[in-house]
């Protein structure tokens, strides 16, 4: 219960702060649909929704962020592009450079916790393994 209230509050902050438009309807495919190369468990979806999707979505304001990564596009990428994108994601997780410093300074709640980083890293390596197996 507590987690979902926090998630909603964080989403609210991100949405208000970064978009006057209605929130992105992002279709993140749950892991159960294994026909997808890239899919997300509920854990991972919650983190992405709370801390990433505000800038990394098609109608986000920040152009640099839009160009660098869009979560919903990740699901539709070809193998090689997905591979490259996942490598970049793993690098920023390693360096702790996302969400960006300025964002985290303004909204300390947006900082990724150790646990969240671990969950995302796991997801990256599992997805890479899955892609390899294809």
């Amino acid at each position: 219960m507590k987690t979902s209230i926090t998630t909603i509050l964080l989403m609210g902050i991100v949405i208000i702060g970064y978009s006057q438009k209605p929130p992105t309807q992002v279709l993140l495919v749950p892991a159960a649909d294994s026909s997808q190369l890239v899919s997300f468990s509920l854990d991972v979806m919650n983190i992405i929704d709370a801390k990433c999707i505000g800038c990394h979505a098609p109608n986000a304001r920040n152009e640099k962020a839009r160009k660098a990564l869009q979560w919903e596009k990740l699901q539709m990428m070809e193998k090689m592009d997905a591979y490259a994108q996942l490598d970049e994601i793993s690098e920023v997780l390693e360096e702790g450079s996302m969400p960006p410093k300025r964002m985290v300074e303004r909204y300390p709640n947006m900082k990724l916790s150790e646990k969240e980083i671990a969950v995302l890293k796991d997801w990256v390596s599992n997805t890479l393994t899955k892609i390899e197996g294809e």
Partner: protein
């Protein structure tokens, strides 16, 4: 009046030379190098060495102007940033996914003419890649990317 200013400028320029900055190290080619470890063909290897290796490898050749401050600051920054972003001397040590990503970025940067840097090209005629040369690099990078993906 003007003479006085010129003297001050000259003295300033001389003092500045004591602050050239730390030159990024240069090292010998090792077996981790891209060209060696991926058996890159001669045509492509020549292009890479002419247009890329100064900033994206440990085999930097320092030009005369890099011995003059403040030009040295910019040159050293380019080299440090370039090696950080992509270092062909460390290619064999890159994980498969890093290689794939970097090859993809090479095609993008070369296609969009972001690389080599304009400032580098202005001082290095051999880095002024023609469209055909750019396409050679891009095709090579795409092929190598595909091949790498299929590897273990």
């Amino acid at each position: 009046m003007i003479r006085k200013m010129l003297i001050i400028l000259a003295v300033g320029a001389i003092i500045l030379q004591f602050f050239r900055g730390e030159e990024p190290e240069v090292a010998e080619v090792t077996e981790n190098d891209l060209i060696l470890s991926e058996a890159v063909n001669d045509d492509v290897a020549l292009l890479l060495k002419s247009a890329c290796y100064d900033c994206h490898s440990m085999q930097t050749v320092y030009p005369w102007y890099s011995y003059i401050t403040p030009a040295s600051w910019f040159v050293f920054d380019h080299i440090r940033d370039g090696r950080d972003e992509l270092n062909f001397s460390e290619w064999a040590n890159y994980e498969k996914r890093r290689k794939i990503r970097k090859l993809k970025e090479i095609t993008e940067e070369v296609e969009e003419k972001h690389m080599p840097l304009d400032s580098y090209i202005s001082m290095h005629g051999e880095a002024n890649l023609s469209q055909a040369q750019r396409e050679t690099i891009i095709n090579w990078a795409e092929e190598l990317g595909q091949a790498t993906l299929l590897r273990e």
